[in-house]
């Protein structure tokens, strides 16, 4: 016991000049955030407010520590925007996994996508930001919302309580304690490596090296240089991605069009899924009446 305490104290004290954020502080904040996440996840207990407060406290403390550690070194004029977008993105991400209604989860994911697009713009990747908004918020999320609406279970109109219409699988989460332990342990390790060991991973580039690696317009995020890079260096990969999109499109059509035979007894066949047979295909080309043509063979058909 004493050994553990002394080890912890040593870990707190060790190398306080070297670390940007002490590892024990990261660990404590991760534990706090984990408890908050457990309370926030949908479950039988009614303490989501406390969980939200705990999670917000952990995030605020972490942000303040980072902000204070970076205060003397970062002289960037886009700093406030970074904090705004980061907070919006992370709060949206937490709401995605903690909201009981899938539609709201999808909408909070849209919020996260927009905030991430803002972060991309801060990193001079405006083409990526536009592509992210177009593809994620425009295409993928529309698909998600459509599937959520298609798969919505029938609500009883008499019950008016806000969560009564939800299925049990939305209201009770599975193993929140284990998941939070694993996840926040991983988060602690990742943040420790990122914040304190990153200068060993990537040595800082002098500004001259950046400008030679990346021409000035590429540093400022020209779409043209990305296109040149893609079509000069990543040509095969680009073609393969087009192939993957085609294959997945065909596969999605094949999967979703398959008619389901009711194997489960609890399954109630509906008109839309089961009993509608495919329309009989009349492949006789002469069965299509053609009007107003000068071809005598086609005119010979009666104009009904």
């Amino acid at each position: 016991m004493l050994g553990v305490v002394s080890t912890l104290a040593f870990a707190v004290d060790a190398g306080s000049a070297d670390y940007i954020v002490k590892p024990m502080i990261i660990l404590l904040l991760c534990v706090l955030g984990g408890i908050g996440t457990i309370l926030l996840l949908p479950g039988p207990k009614q303490s989501a407010g406390l969980g939200g407060v705990l999670l917000a406290l952990a995030g605020l403390a972490f942000g303040l520590i980072i902000f204070r550690a970076a205060a003397g070194t970062v002289n960037s004029d886009t700093g406030p925007y970074f904090w705004i977008f980061a907070v919006i993105a992370l709060v949206g991400a937490v709401r995605v996994i903690t909201h009981a209604r899938p539609v709201y989860s999808a909408l909070y994911f849209v919020l996260t996508v927009f905030a991430s697009a803002g972060l991309f713009i801060l990193m001079y990747a405006e083409f990526m930001a536009a592509a992210l908004v177009l593809i994620y918020a425009g295409a993928i999320l529309i698909t998600y919302v459509f599937v959520i609406m298609l798969a919505a279970s029938a609500q009883s109109p008499s019950d008016r309580s806000p969560l009564a219409s939800l299925a049990e699988c939305d209201l009770v989460s599975r193993e929140p304690f284990t998941a939070a332990c694993v996840g926040f342990a991983l988060m602690g390790v990742l943040l420790f490596v990122i914040l304190d060991k990153a200068d060993q991973l990537t040595p800082p580039l002098p500004p001259a090296a950046v400008t030679t690696l990346m021409p000035e317009e590429a540093v400022h995020g020209s779409t043209q240089s990305i296109g040149q890079y893609l079509f000069q260096n990543q040509m095969v990969n680009l073609e393969l991605s087009g192939l993957i999109l085609t294959v997945s499109m065909v596969g999605a059509i094949v999967i979703a069009r398959r008619r389901v035979v009711g194997v489960d007894q609890s399954f109630e066949p509906t008109v839309e899924t089961i009993s509608s047979t495919a329309a009989p295909v009349n492949d006789d080309p002469h069965s299509i009446p053609v009007y107003g043509t000068t071809n005598p063979r086609q005119k010979s058909f009666p104009q009904t």
């Binding site: 972060l119 998941a179 979703a256």
Partner: protein
């Protein structure tokens, strides 16, 4: 200036990835599970863009395009499967497919 700012973006990406991971493990709705996968894709994209910016290499941004491609195809296939599974059991609960564990 550069290193610390890179660490900011990496921290955001790591936190978002872990949030998506926790959601992937805990949620039981099939659609929300795939939504959490998209969240993890998003975090990886933030990391790639950050490395691309702070190491002066365009490969990161190019990889984000491929990540988007994979995410789009994964979403279409997965949602088609979700619709198929929902038609069979009439529920979105992942535990309804417990026999797939074996």
């Amino acid at each position: 200036m550069q290193i610390l700012a890179l660490q900011h973006y990496l921290a955001v990406g790591a936190i978002m990835f872990v949030i998506g991971l926790i959601g992937f493990i805990t949620r039981r709705n099939l659609i929300v599970i795939f939504l959490c996968t998209e969240l993890m894709f998003q975090a990886v994209a933030i990391n790639l863009i950050a490395f691309s910016r702070f190491t002066g290499n365009l490969a990161g941004q190019a990889f984000v395009i491929f990540v988007l491609v994979i995410a789009a195809s994964e979403a279409s296939l997965a949602l088609g499967l979700v619709v198929l599974l929902f038609r069979q059991k009439n529920t979105l609960d992942a535990d309804a497919w417990r026999e797939l564990k074996w």
